[in-house]
């Protein structure tokens, strides 16, 4: 490199841009739609002892919410990949808006997940732990 920090940084950032553009051209920028089968498969890999009994799937395929025996799990998309979070009722911040349920988690690596689907509001109550008894 040149030995000039500013110039070296500019060259590095330029090279990064070239590599990212090449990856974008070669592999596109697809968003994986989350449906029940994809979410089920991912959940089985990430949380093999989680037994999904009911599903709430976002109508735009952004995320899916599964109810298990005592817990819930969210499968959401991150670009072409899926990410799961498993939690007990009351273990996530849950709000309802625009006919959907918005879920966020306390860990700093998480993002808000929005699921718009029929029945979302009644799921929100369960997620918050209202009326759910944990042994």
């Amino acid at each position: 490199m040149t030995g000039n920090l500013f110039l070296d940084s500019l060259i590095s950032l330029g090279a990064i841009a070239v590599m990212v553009i090449a990856a974008r051209i070669a592999f596109g920028a697809h968003e994986v739609p989350v449906n029940e089968s994809a979410a089920r498969e991912r959940l089985a890999a990430d949380e093999p002892d989680f037994n999904p009994r009911a599903w709430l799937i976002d109508r735009d395929g952004r995320a899916a919410l599964a109810a298990g025996d005592l817990e819930f799990a969210v499968v959401s998309r991150l670009g072409g990949d899926l990410v799961t979070r498993r939690f007990r009722p009351g273990g996530a911040n849950v709000t309802t808006r625009q006919g959907g349920v918005e879920i966020s988690f306390p860990d700093a690596g998480s993002a808000r997940v929005m699921i718009v689907a029929e029945g979302a509001v009644s799921w929100a109550r369960k997620l918050s732990g209202v009326g759910v008894v944990i042994p």
């Binding site: 490199m1 990064i16 070239v18 990212v20 592999f27 991150l78 072409g80 990410v83 700093a108 690596g109």
Partner: protein, 304 residues
């Protein structure tokens, strides 16, 4: 005096060209995959990791190395034989630093960055911590300087080790025959990056896989179990700042909410996933759960 060039500076352009080559080959062959935003995050983390030491850390390492060199135990000459010895010792040092980086949350908070991609390609090799290199260098490399290896030599062999580890971050290369016995290879390192319970906490080697074989942490890649990459709780973001600091934020939150000093220490220095009530999962717990779930399956296979 023997000269030790800054080989990282020479290697960086080659890294960029090899990433471009891998993108093309992966696209043509269908082996391996790139997600542009994930790659952007990885490359920006790599860029940041080169800048971060300039914020005082490099000076701190220099000062500690200088002090250790002043009080060195032996006069070790700079010869090719001592460079080789230093490389082997540094590789052993790397093994333990790397292992502790997985087993203790304080160190994991830095190293998690490198594992936080769900992809395994050459850009992942460059996804590096902004916070950990300094601590790792001071704690683990200083003993080599104190022994009497010249600081420039210690930095040089560390750089050789880092450069070696670049090319093993790929799915394009299969197994490499007898080399798999001695060297860390793409196959061994895929296992290291996998979150499959069978593969967790394995293959910490830098260049020589013999350390894992000696210390009992070696796991071979299996043809019937494709590695799934990432971390136990994968990140829901491509934001480099959150990638760099999410685990540190988690530690800070846990420690401020701890009910005792013992709990606070557990959150900082216990295994990643440790919690006082066992409500979170450490990798040991994940492996135990997996073993329990698969017991029936294994018995059925044995009966056949």
């Amino acid at each position: 005096m023997m000269e030790f060039p800054d080989i990282i500076a020479f290697a960086v352009p080659a890294f960029a060209l090899l990433v471009l080559a891998e993108i093309i080959v992966a696209r043509i062959t269908g082996r391996g995959r790139y997600e542009a935003r994930d790659a952007a995050s990885s490359l920006l983390m790599g860029f940041g990791s080169e800048i971060a030491p300039l914020v005082g850390g490099a000076a701190a390492v220099g000062a500690v190395f200088y002090a250790a060199w002043e009080y060195r135990l032996f006069e070790i000459p700079n010869t090719w034989a001592t460079v080789l010895l230093c490389f082997v010792l540094d590789d052993l040092r790397y093994y333990w630093w790397h292992r502790i980086s997985h087993e203790r949350r304080w160190f994991w908070a830095s190293h998690v960055v490198h594992h936080s991609s769900q992809h395994y390609n050459l850009s992942t090799a460059l996804r590096q911590t902004w916070t950990g290199q300094i601590l790792g260098q001071i704690l683990f490399k200083t003993p080599l300087v104190f022994l009497g290896f010249h600081p420039a030599m210690v930095l040089f062999v560390g750089a050789v080790n880092l450069i070696y580890q670049f090319w093993i971050h790929t799915e394009l290369i299969g197994r490499l025959g007898p080399l798999e016995w001695i060297f860390n290879t793409p196959s061994h390192h895929r296992v290291h990056h996998a979150t499959n319970p069978r593969y967790l906490d394995s293959n910490y080697a830098g260049t020589l896989i013999i350390w894992d074989r000696i210390f009992g942490t070696f796991t071979a890649e299996r043809a019937d179990e494709k590695p799934r990459y990432g971390i136990i709780k994968n990140l829901q973001t491509f934001n480099p700042l959150r990638i760099a600091f999410h685990e540190w934020i988690g530690i800070a939150r846990d420690v401020t909410g701890a009910k005792s000093l013992k709990e606070a220490c557990g959150y900082m220095f216990g295994p990643p996933g440790w919690s006082p009530d066992g409500s979170r999962m450490t990798s040991e717990m994940i492996k135990a759960r997996w073993a329990q779930l698969n017991r029936g399956e294994d018995q059925a296979k044995a009966a056949e």
